[in-house]
């Protein structure tokens, strides 16, 4: 059974994904992702990456706080941005075809933006949900000392998803699990000054996942 653990998996494709958005609303009625970062990983190696700046036909503007945190630059954005349809064409095959989608707080935030994006493009997003590995949930599960209990046989999407939701909906005070604090806690070597750039965040996310997967029986 141990051979089935994800820590030994060299064949599956993991796509790490992170959105930078105009604000923290979960619906396209008042939010859009302006940057999507994706890295494709197989057997602990990054095999490809995407850094997409996404242009939308909308009057929505990036909020002051979001711009400050993500170091958003209008001129840089204008130079690099591509139409949202073009960005979707590049991004969606990665997500559709991969075995796992990994993100930090992906179940609590990014999945809702992905839902909006897919629906705007007239596509169903539901096949993505079962592939999600949310490192925020897994890290919190360890801190809460609520272990993941795998059923007999191979890991199922449903049991992993329910475990992650259980942790996500369990709030405890004074538990820090943001990427930076986890990185420092695990003494992960990373250029922490570049955080909040999508690809830098994802590289740290990958390193955190590499630590987490050794501690959890998935």
């Amino acid at each position: 059974m141990d051979k089935d653990l994800l820590r030994f998996d060299k064949k599956s494709t993991f796509v790490f994904c992170d959105f930078e958005t105009y604000n923290l609303c979960l619906n396209f009625a008042h939010n859009r992702p302006w940057q999507a970062g994706l890295i494709k990983v197989k057997g602990n190696k990054i095999i490809d990456s995407l850094d997409l700046h996404i242009k939308w036909d909308t009057k929505l503007k990036i909020g002051e706080e979001a711009a400050r945190i993500t170091k958003y630059s209008e001129s840089n954005f204008r130079k690099r941005c591509i139409d949202h349809k073009k960005a979707f064409k590049q991004m969606s095959p990665w997500l559709d075809k991969c075995d796992y989608i990994v993100g930090h707080n992906f179940l609590g935030f990014d999945i809702y933006l992905l839902k909006g994006y897919y629906e705007t493009m007239g596509k169903d997003y539901s096949h993505l949900v079962g592939k999600i590995i949310d490192t925020n949930c897994l890290a919190r599960g360890l801190k809460y000392e609520i272990p993941f209990r795998r059923g007999n046989g191979k890991l199922t999407q449903e049991e992993l998803l329910l475990y992650q939701y259980k942790i996500m909906n369990t709030k405890r005070r004074r538990v820090r699990s943001n990427l930076e604090s986890l990185g420092r806690e695990y003494t992960i070597d990373h250029d922490y000054d570049t955080l909040h750039d999508a690809l830098s965040d994802l590289r740290l996310n990958m390193k955190v996942w590499n630590k987490l997967k050794l501690q959890i029986e998935i």
Partner: protein
């Protein structure tokens, strides 16, 4: 629940108007308290529409316990009136929940609920979200239902939320095992999908948050509306 003809072009829609426009013969109104009943009953009766009224209530293990532990045994139920006697029973149940069981919100437990119960007058429904099935599987709560005195109906919905499919399968598994009835339904909070932003604004005001940071869990779907119900009803 304003009178027929009171909807404003850029203002709130009256449920009576929506029901009338769509030739509905009956309306299920589920409130969080008893306060809306009289207006709803009067205005719908004037429009010759039948009202089936219900209250969404928190049921916990022991409503005399007023602490954080008690919250971990709480989940939502909908109590619907079948008739006038049901309404009288519901007033009793709600009064007790608001007076004796209150802890952040009106609450009752199954022991107390049983005392005022009659299957001839009331229906116990388990909502799709915030139910014991949801909390027991998607959170660390431990809610133990007691259906020994009633025959509950389980509502199911599809609002394209990320966890809808998995929740549906859990509800279906439970109802199949226990031979309980399931009813496909749709929670309606506003008229059209296009009104979602206005609804979200309203919720943010109540939540003392902003559109930029609503802090409302899972508030991602614009299908909690009459327009979506119509799409389903029309196949």
């Amino acid at each position: 629940m304003e009178k027929e003809g009171s909807s404003e072009k850029d203002g709130p829609d009256s449920i009576v108007d929506i029901a009338k426009e769509n030739e509905l013969e009956e309306v299920f109104l589920v409130d969080d308290c008893m306060g809306g009943f009289l207006e709803a009953y009067t205005n719908l009766a004037e429009a010759k529409i039948k009202l089936i009224f219900g209250v969404r209530l928190t049921v916990c293990e022991d409503c005399s316990q007023k602490n954080e532990g008690a919250i971990n045994t709480s989940s939502k139920y909908v109590i619907l009136c079948r008739n006038k006697r049901g309404y009288e029973r519901l007033i009793k149940i709600y009064s007790q929940a608001a007076k004796e069981g209150f802890y952040y919100e009106p609450r009752i437990d199954f022991t107390e609920l049983k005392k005022s119960w009659s299957n001839e007058d009331l229906i116990l429904a388990v909502p799709f979200y915030d139910s014991f099935v949801f909390y027991n599987n998607f959170s660390s709560r431990n809610c133990i239902p007691d259906f020994s005195f009633c025959n509950p109906v389980f509502f199911t919905e599809d609002n394209k939320l990320p966890f809808d499919k998995i929740l549906l399968s859990l509800v279906q598994k439970y109802t199949k095992e226990q031979s309980y009835q399931e009813r496909k339904c749709k929670s309606v909070y506003y008229k059209d999908k296009a009104h979602f932003k206005a609804y979200l604004t309203f919720r943010c005001i109540n939540n003392r948050s902003s559109l930029e940071k609503p802090e409302l869990n899972n508030m991602c779907s614009d299908t909690f509306c009459f327009e979506s119900w119509k799409e389903i009803a029309n196949g």
